[in-house]
Subunit: 329 residues, 2 copies
DNA sequence: CTGTTAGCGCGTTCAC
DNA sequence: GTGAACGCGCTAACAG
């Protein structure tokens, strides 16, 4: 294994000079710089990261902790995080928690052990409810999940507003009896519920809401029982892409026509939502941007640990498609 | 920062004993073991990974290099890899290459620098064509992409067989003029093409094949031009989920009925394939299992570097749905 | 079975 | 502007 002293010998300088050149310190003369660079290339020298990390106490690593990378939202976020990290010469360590507080805790411990510079985290409800940045030795940026009043950096969708607008869209298209299936397990689902309720209230319309656990199967079941009730709601609203999937499955089993018998709208502009017949009205989240902003916020926080906490709130985009077309009265 | 000598002092033993207890070496007496464990707990001692890695020359890390984590196939594989790695106390470093040979090379270098124990890799066509395990200092397991004759561990779908059976299925349902859109950029696409051609040949049927770059847009365009030709093929076959998506989009623009006017079948059992109308016949890949087997193979290779190379070939599952229903003659 | 000690490869003082 | 030397925290070899 070629190491720094080999390079030093070859270049006819000391190891200190090699180290300085590699660190980009400007206190080194141009001739030595060239000598070193040449020797590095000739020997194909690669600094030993373990030694460097031990000595410098820096890992050049950040952590990304999500519930499940297979959730398309997190897939996209993680791609953005990887891209940004790569371009900043940083490594990313990824963990899946499956919303399990114990796994969450062990992931966080792992991040501590790895001496990450910071973590991007989508906390479970449980963790979020007792969350305090002070409990951790590294900065954390929350994504997707957040509770008002928490002193923490975060990048979020404006869930209330998005659900409000989606509901407004349904109402303005003539739908009045609207059923809302929301993810009861997450702060995000509950915030979307609040947006929905506020929009309904502004029209003096009664609400019909159903909390469901975050699983396709459960959403499917819940949707089925709603679709079998009399009178049938005029529209059904899903607070997440997963729930929307469950509803869509259920609708395929019934012979109900969309939007004539019942309109549909939901969250997350996944590829399939425009392929089903009819295509589905959704709120598109700027997922890649959320990831990009999260790591940006994290890097800034690392650079200036003392500055005030910030929440970055991004707007969803309403994509109106056939499934929520105007009701013929 | 609490370190090993603090623990040693507290437990009244030497640092070596602490190290041995933590390494799980069986050469330590039960009393000292208990003393050490207690001290570790009391001080909340966490070994410094950088120091440990420097000294032991082991990183407990493996690499995963894929073209794009957003490809659902790789998402699933990566989840499996993460799960297995986590349960083996291993870290995973993930890289996206976008099929770019340069990025591929820098990812591989990064893995070398990180001293990973091994890498799971889906190589670009270019890399695959000149691939040799001997070029790397760590073991590599190929996933998804592979070329006959390469001496490398790999976990693969039986692409030839899957495409053969999918074609057989179409033929046995009365479709004879079949157009095949295949991914020309990957070995995988070409192997599926071969399976298709073989099946057609066994029935003395002429083939009509079209290579497309691996982008939805391109597949869409190619599908459009096929759908506009006279006479219309009786069926259209896609060699990947991505191409199937492009075809599905194109079909929505035309007013062709599926399967009456044209039947459709393809690869990858993604959630949306059973939600579109009509639902799509596909070959389901055992994606999670592929990831699981890949890391299993890698760990075995790490354990015994000298043993013979192995390719693990898994079978796809034909899921017949409405889009390929029997042709009424 | 346990303790002492020599480095692992590098970054960083501190003299020059 | 440069080099010599120390030590980051740990593991492993060796002595006892």
């Amino acid at each position: 294994m070629v190491q720094i002293k080999d390079v030093a010998k070859r270049a006819g300088v000391s190891v200190a000079s090699v180290s300085r050149v590699l660190a980009g310190l400007p206190v080194v003369s141009e001739p030595t710089r060239q000598k070193v660079l040449e020797a590095v290339k000739e020997l194909d020298y690669r600094p030993d990261l373990a030694a460097r990390r031990l000595r410098s106490r820096r890992s050049d690593t950040i952590g990304l902790i999500v519930s499940d990378i297979r959730n398309p939202f997190f897939t996209e976020v993680s791609r953005a995080v990887e891209d940004m990290a790569f371009s900043h010469q940083m490594r990313v360590i990824l963990c899946n928690t499956d919303e399990d507080p114990e796994k969450e805790a062990s992931c966080l411990e792992l991040m501590r052990d790895e001496k990450v510079h910071g973590v991007i985290l989508s906390p479970s409800s449980k963790l979020l409810s007792r969350y305090s940045p002070a409990d951790y030795s590294f900065p954390i940026v929350l994504v997707d999940r957040y509770e008002r009043g928490i002193k923490a950096d975060a990048v979020l969708l404006d869930n209330f507003d998005a659900a409000y607008r989606l509901t407004e869209h349904l109402v303005s298209n003539g739908h009045r009896r609207i059923a809302c299936l929301y993810g009861s397990a997450s702060a995000t689902g509950r915030q979307r519920l609040e947006g929905h309720k506020a929009a309904m209230a502004s029209h003096q319309l009664p609400v019909q809401v159903h909390g469901v656990p975050p699983m396709v199967h459960e959403a499917h079941e819940a949707a089925m029982s709603i679709l079998n009730q009399k009178p049938l709601p005029q529209a059904i609203l899903a607070s997440s892409g997963l729930i929307l999937l469950g509803i869509t499955e259920a609708l395929r089993e019934t012979k109900l026509r969309v939007p004539e018998d019942i309109a549909v709208a939901g969250f997350d502009n996944l590829p399939w939502t425009r392929l089903v017949e009819p295509s589905l009205t959704v709120i598109a989240q700027p997922t890649y941007e959320i990831g990009r902003e999260a790591i940006e916020l994290l890097l800034q926080r690392i650079a200036s640990p003392g500055s005030a906490v910030r929440q970055l709130v991004l707007q969803g985009e309403l994509i109106a498609r056939s499934s929520s077309a105007a009701r013929i009265v």
